[in-house]
């Protein structure tokens, strides 16, 4: 009983203190939503709108290149890339984790070294290559490289290695081949790891600004981050509109985070602490 009282005594003030710090962390988001619902005359003058004004939100969802276009573009690129990356990474990760073949370690070393190469190194040659391939300024310029995730191979290889060898070996003895073991045993066992990688990879594609900036030039092809920048460059005094656009860009990720919080946190802490 005494213990309980003292723990409440130390826990309560710390909880309050941390809540205050937490509110400061999310204050930019709260201010963003609040400003997006204000009228132009209220920006910078008050924290909360005097009455809810939805006109800024209407403005960004209509118009020539509106957020519906950007959402559809982002969804298309993110979904195709993520599905492909999950499948192709899992396939390769199984090869690296469970099959011994000549040159395996050397090939894995190539993967390892590619992780260190900054994206700036390959922007220029990719730009030149994509011009040759006639995929510059098409969604393929983002989708094709997006199908291949080095991080995904690493993360899933890590997980596949943690599956006990006995499980797959007994399947071998029963006469199953690598393909059956991969599809019928390993993939189902790896569902949590696959979910984690799916969410992380999706968020990476959804928020990717730098590739879109380099490889897309037609506004009707823009993804959300690039469309957002475009909107703000054209409407740089429309503060309510800017904040409505920023809200539109952030809300989907917040929803995904709330739904997949467990997987995101597991994946990030798991891959980092073990890696």
């Amino acid at each position: 009983m005494n213990n309980l009282v003292s723990s409440v005594k130390t826990k309560m003030p710390l909880t309050v203190l941390m809540l205050i710090c937490g509110v400061f962390m999310i204050l930019p988001f709260l201010w963003m939503v609040s400003t997006s619902l204000q009228s132009p005359s209220e920006v910078f003058t008050r924290w909360l709108p005097s009455k809810l004004d939805w006109r800024s939100h209407e403005r960004i969802w209509t118009g020539d290149y509106n957020f519906i276009t950007y959402y559809l573009n982002s969804l298309k690129i993110s979904i195709i890339s993520t599905v492909g990356a999950v499948f192709l990474s899992a396939f390769a990760a199984y090869g690296f984790a469970r099959i011994e073949f000549r040159g395996r370690n050397a090939m894995f070393l190539v993967y390892l070294s590619m992780m260190m190469i900054p994206p700036q190194v390959i922007f220029v040659p990719k730009f030149i290559m994509f011009n040759w391939m006639h995929i510059y300024n098409t969604h393929w310029a983002l989708i094709l490289p997006g199908l291949f995730s080095i991080f995904g191979v690493f993360m899933l290889r890590q997980f596949f290695m943690s599956i006990p060898k006995e499980i797959t070996e007994s399947a071998f003895i029963d006469g199953a081949g690598h393909f059956r073991i991969f599809f019928k045993l390993v993939l189902p066992l790896a569902k949590p790891a696959l979910a984690t990688f799916t969410i992380i990879d999706f968020s990476w594609h959804w928020n990717d600004f730098e590739n879109a900036l380099v490889f897309l030039s037609s506004p009707n092809l823009y993804t959300i981050p690039l469309g957002l920048q475009n909107f703000i460059l054209e409407n740089n005094v429309d503060y309510n509109g800017m904040m409505a656009a920023a809200t539109a860009a952030i809300v989907p990720m917040i929803l995904i985070f709330i739904i997949g919080q467990k997987y995101i946190i597991q994946g990030i802490s798991g891959s980092a602490v073990k890696g």
Partner: protein, 294 residues
């Protein structure tokens, strides 16, 4: 047939499994990387079809380029955000690990910046830092600071304003990983120390901090590398200005390549960036044993 020989016979299947991924990695990572290395020794300029080999000219030019040195200086200031964010997130993780209610909610609040779109938060911060009417300077005036900084409008402060955003951005990520590391610290060890009469501050700095040092080290290295490579927040807010004061190395590479179309020169600088990252990684490998207590 024995089990192992059967498995060995299946080894060609290994290539089948990794081939689809390997082809993509070759095409979109390895080939461009080699290609880029070749470009260092040319004057390739996208608009100009005549390419000639220039040997070491791009590398020489780099070391005579004031803007290059300016970018290095700005990158160094940018990297300050990494250790600062680490320190703060360690303290937050310590508190969240034990002594609070609503852990899940608090964890989510601190982690939210990391998951949200960099460009979107960049624009929110741009308005928050607005010099004459922005909320941050309003608050500073309210607490008695008569002339608060101009933030992005001022060459002296613009890079530090970016640092603040980066600290805010990295905090949640670092905290999540510290939380995972703190959970590995054995409770018996802490109990024993307490029984021996150690104060909680002593326990924290003499036992917990050394025990999580592998995590600190890993976060420092990956944070430095991640921060060195990124430029989207800066590109969105300042495009490197005012007058070059926020042009970090990665942004300078982007501008050299895609605003001035000097692909050869940009490749030289990008390999310099790679060399730094490589250096940091090597230091990590070497010093790990000395620095880190397992």
């Amino acid at each position: 047939m024995s089990k192992t020989s059967w498995m060995r016979k299946q080894s060609w299947l290994g290539y089948v499994f990794i081939l689809p991924n390997m082809l993509g990695v070759l095409l979109f990572f390895v080939v461009p990387a080699l290609f880029s290395f070749g470009l260092i020794f040319t004057d390739y300029q996208f608009s100009n079809p005549n390419v000639s080999f220039t040997g070491m000219d791009n590398i020489k030019r780099m070391f005579q380029d004031d803007q290059f040195y300016n970018a290095i200086k700005n990158t160094a200031i940018f990297l300050l955000s990494v250790p600062v964010s680490l320190g703060l997130s360690f303290v937050v993780a310590l508190v969240l690990n034990k002594n609070v209610y609503l852990k899940g909610l608090l964890r989510g609040m601190f982690f939210l910046p990391y998951i949200s779109s960099g460009v979107a938060v960049a624009f929110v911060w741009m308005l928050l830092f607005q010099p004459s009417q922005g909320p941050i300077n309003e608050i500073l005036r309210w607490i008695g600071i008569v002339s608060p900084p101009g933030w992005f409008a001022d060459t002296e402060t613009a890079m530090y304003a970016i640092d603040i955003i980066q600290i805010w951005f990295l905090l949640g990520y670092n905290m999540i990983i510290y939380l995972a590391a703190l959970q590995e610290v054995s409770p018996e060890l802490l109990e024993a120390a307490k029984i021996d009469g150690a104060k909680s501050r002593t326990v924290t700095w003499r036992i917990v901090w050394p025990l999580v040092s592998p995590t600190t080290f890993m976060l420092l290295i990956t944070g430095l590398i991640m921060t060195m490579k990124s430029f989207s927040i800066i590109q969105a807010i300042t495009q490197g200005g005012p007058s070059g004061s926020t042009t970090i190395l990665s942004l300078y590479i982007y501008k050299t390549a895609f605003s001035y179309y000097e692909m050869g020169y940009a490749s030289a600088i990008s390999w310099f960036l790679f060399a730094i990252i490589m250096g940091i990684t090597v230091i990590q490998w070497i010093s790990q044993k000395r620095w880190v207590h397992y």
